[in-house]
């Protein structure tokens, strides 16, 4: 399993009137070929910002101010906008945006909107394009007659499948999914998760799966990256994060404790007190120290580095280094 994507010291700041907001602040990680990397965190921790940064598509007033995104050996941040559009975006990396199923154009049939995207990127005649579209419609488990329908005639789950097909039919290597199951009912959620697992097997895709829900992440992600306030708090394998053995970051433990479990009766759920810090003026030291249950003196003074504590497992926490 080689690395397909490597991100080094990526920084994306939003330049607001009150100063720069550090949406993604010095983040490094890699994605192996054929794996799913989960990105979890609370709202406002920079998960979606990270996704848009990987497409070099920050939403204004955001700007990527540093770092590298190395895709298959070359840094895509060195390319100009035209090159990125022609070679990278949707061609190599595509994204299923949050709530994307609600962004289908209501006045076009499904076929027409899919065709438009396809012909923007590839010079294909109608017949070849139609064939490609049908192939991917079948991959996502829909029948051809949805192509003649309008979005309002489809259910949420069907629309989400269309959006996934659209993200796939240019045969990208990396697909970023931003909360792809959040607005769906539980049964449909499970079906979409199954679909993504099947596609990963069939097409050899690599996924970055962004969500706030640790339960979903446990079922889809091979490795998990926990973000807090624009930084990586922890990154590790599924086993290391959910296995309940070994060390985990106090923030991850807090999130896990707050996740209700259906099949276990608990008298009381834990929660993390307080709210995430304002990224305009992040706190000194560890960004989590104001909410951390095991805070020490050092935490408020010095920022912990992201350090490998065992193979594949990196944590940014002074507590975890001491012991």
């Amino acid at each position: 399993m080689g690395r397909i994507l490597e991100v080094n010291n990526l920084k994306l700041y939003y330049y607001t009137a009150r100063g720069p907001v550090r949406g993604v602040d010095d983040i490094s990680f890699h994605l192996n070929k054929g794996e799913t990397l989960g990105v979890v965190g609370e709202s406002g921790c920079g998960k979606t910002t990270l996704g848009t940064a990987l497409l070099n598509m920050p939403s204004p007033p955001g700007r990527i101010v540093g770092g590298e995104i190395v895709l298959a050996g070359s840094d895509i941040l060195q390319l100009n906008e035209k090159q990125i559009r022609q070679q990278i975006r949707w061609e190599k990396i595509s994204m299923v945006f949050q709530g994307a199923m609600n962004c289908l154009t209501p006045v076009y049939t499904i076929e027409k909107q899919m065709l438009e995207t396809l012909q923007e990127h590839r010079e294909m005649d109608e017949a070849a394009a139609g064939e490609r579209i049908r192939k991917y419609i079948a991959y996502v488990g829909l029948s051809d007659d949805v192509l003649r329908r309008y979005p309002h005639e489809l259910s949420g789950g069907m629309k989400q499948r269309i959006v996934i097909a659209t993200a796939l039919f240019l045969e990208p290597e990396v697909v970023i999914c931003d909360e792809p199951t959040t607005a769906l009912d539980v049964v449909v959620q499970a079906q979409i998760i199954n679909l993504l697992k099947e596609l990963k097997e069939q097409l050899g895709l690599s996924f970055i799966f962004i969500t706030h829900d640790l339960a979903t992440e446990a079922e889809v992600a091979d490795r998990i990256l926990v973000m807090y306030a624009g930084k990586i708090a922890e990154i590790g394998t599924n086993q290391q994060i959910y296995g309940q053995e070994g060390q985990i970051h106090p923030y991850t433990r807090g999130l896990l404790g707050a996740t209700p479990r259906l099949r276990e009766k608990v008298a009381k759920l834990d929660f993390i007190p307080g709210t995430p810090p304002n990224l305009l003026h992040p706190p000194a030291g560890c960004r989590f120290h104001l909410r951390c249950p095991v805070v020490m003196e050092r935490c408020s003074v010095e920022e912990p580095p992201l350090k490998e504590i065992e193979a594949e497992h990196k944590i940014a926490c002074w507590r975890c280094f001491d012991e």
Binding site: V187, E217, E219, G257, L269, F271
Partner: protein
């Protein structure tokens, strides 16, 4: 705990839909049967969960109880009094007793109101409290109850200055200020961050115990319902298909639909990454304008046999004490 505070008998809400010309000539009418014969009773001091997918009629049921919608048929009995048809004064009195917390804490508050105004508005509408001073002291009291301390600091803030969790606390405080006995909470935590969701639920539970309130908790999320509620009713296409204590529903699930819902829930447990989850259900939820004949779940049920669509719809029957199920074949499919 044994006294019944609210009883709903065969409650229905049918919405008319636009007719085709041919129907117009024949004098036929089409209906969306959003709530189609729902009966349950809630005891005082209980937290009752109403669970189902979107479109199953759970929110409509909540709105019927709040008298935000008029029911088509059926009865609502609150504290022994039939409140299905009330005079305007009766409704005003009833609404002081029964209050609602809405799903979206960002949309349910006027952005130009300070928290003070948000809390005082119900008092002004219901003409409670003598003068501003008493009203303010009532407002600080409820803010303390929902753990927004010190209250003075929050009174002059605007909703945009609060986090989602804090807003939902204010929404709870707003319902409490009228000292209701019954609260309808429609997905109160689904838009709040996971890390604070538990905090809000716990606050709601503490308030409930402090003030001896009764909740109807409407949600699609079984995991929080297991933790938060005493009893659960599972709704499908406008009808209750299974009802029992939270433990009975989760640990001894009887109806095929509830089984599918439970099977679909993800858990934060390792080792499931490459497994395809089996969800024992077929197809998609049909439209409430076109409810299948016989058992309304049969087109999606993996256990369905001809008796399920040929015979008439099964009613709720008691499978074990306090555990009701509407399925003909529940004993065969265990």
């Amino acid at each position: 705990m044994s006294e019944v505070i609210l009883e709903v008998k065969d409650l229905k809400k049918w919405f008319p839909v636009r007719r085709r010309i041919s129907q117009l000539f024949k004098g036929e009418k089409s209906w969306v049967r959003a709530v189609d014969g729902v009966s349950f009773s809630i005891k005082k001091g209980e937290i009752f969960g109403l669970i189902g997918e979107s479109g199953c009629g759970k929110t409509t049921t909540g709105k019927l109880l709040m008298k935000l919608l008029e029911s088509t048929a059926g009865q609502i009995i609150f504290q022994g009094e039939d409140v299905t048809n009330l005079t305007p004064e009766g409704i005003s009195r009833y609404k002081r007793e029964i209050q609602m917390i809405f799903q979206d804490p960002y949309a349910s508050m006027n952005p130009r109101f300070k928290i003070r105004d948000v809390l005082l508005e119900p008092l002004i509408i219901h003409k409670l409290g003598a003068g501003l001073e008493e009203r303010i002291s009532m407002a600080t009291e409820v803010l303390e109850e929902v753990k927004m301390t010190p209250p003075i600091e929050f009174l002059d803030r605007y909703p945009h200055m609060l986090s989602g969790g804090q807003r939902q606390r204010v929404a709870t405080a707003r319902t409490l200020i009228l000292s209701p006995t019954f609260i309808v909470a429609d997905e109160p935590v689904s838009m709040i961050d996971l890390s604070t969701r538990a905090e809000v639920l716990q606050m709601m539970k503490e308030v409930q115990q402090d003030l001896n309130l009764t909740y109807l908790y409407i949600t699609h999320d079984l995991s929080t319902a297991r933790y938060f509620t005493d009893r659960i009713a599972v709704m499908y296409l406008g009808k209750i298909v299974e009802m029992g204590s939270a433990d009975q529903i989760v640990d001894n699930t009887l109806h095929p639909y509830s089984r599918a819902l439970i099977a679909a829930v993800c858990e934060p447990v390792t080792g499931k990454v490459n497994l395809i989850k089996e969800v024992p259900i077929k197809g998609e939820i049909p439209s409430a304008a076109n409810i299948p004949a016989g058992c309304r779940f049969h087109p999606r049920c993996i256990f369905a046999k001809p008796e399920c669509w040929e015979l008439e719809e099964p009613g709720l029957e008691e499978a074990e004490p306090g555990h009701l199920v509407a399925c003909r074949r529940y004993q065969e499919i265990v």
